[in-house]
Symmetry: C2
Subunit: 142 residues, 2 copies
Amino acid sequence: MIKPQPEHLKDVGLKSTLPRLKILGLFESGQERHMSAEDVYKQLLASGDDVGLATVYRVLTQFEQAGLLVRHNFEGGKSVFELNQGKHHDHIVCLQCGHVEEFYDAAIESRQKKIATERGFAVHDHSLHIYADCIKKECPHK
Amino acid sequence: MIKPQPEHLKDVGLKSTLPRLKILGLFESGQERHMSAEDVYKQLLASGDDVGLATVYRVLTQFEQAGLLVRHNFEGGKSVFELNQGKHHDHIVCLQCGHVEEFYDAAIESRQKKIATERGFAVHDHSLHIYADCIKKECPHK
DNA sequence: ACCGATGATGATAATGGTTCTCATTTGCAA
DNA sequence: TTGCAAATGAGAACCATTATCATCATCGGT
């Protein structure tokens, strides 16, 4: 279990407070790689940590802006966060079992930037999700 | 102005009602290719058609399930619909004014398929959204 | 170590998009 | 034309998220 490091927060210009350390610690513990605000909130309650839901939302957004976390807008209306480990990646999602794999392809990245720039857009961000059936034995799609 | 065709509705197992014809007509008129439920509702009000917002949501969802429309879950929390014309394309969305442009890039498409196949996935579908600032004069981002 | 300004927190209200409820109306087959 | 199942519309309910605001904690300066 990695323990949350106050310097990480200082480094990105955030005061090292209890709620922030707890939340960062949750992600760094690696138990769950992808978590929604609600997930984080419940986890904290479960461990007896008394953090407000509003704070969870605020902190997650701050962490995203600071580059500590990456936000994903999946279907179903809720945002999901994961630890930013430096390298951007896209996702392949199995429609049957929900298995998620990450990938990065330089060719796709550069084509995207080129296309947007040609059309006069200043790229902020992008999301690429491939929906498919996987071939894992555990996967229920027959 | 193309007039909405009741047979389209019958063909997909939906009664041909006034609200449904009006909404389908809006998309077929091609004035706006991408519309949210709110957009559709306002358009209808503007043309003096008295349709409830709840009905707009219901009908859009039905049209999506019937394959008449395609739903896109862009950032910003609202769903956007467009007429399903069979050919796949991806989207660039302006984060400031909501302007949407479509694009298709064979290189990206083939890379996606290759990546998924290599990992043992059978691709069903995918979504690629680029989020950016556009340069239209009307666009509010200064 | 203490203090005080600055910034963070948490309870709750507010928001925005979407869905639900249900009384009323409509399409359509007989 | 008539009857009834299906569709509609007004508004309430819902859910994730954001805003408000009084209280509280952090941290640099003392």
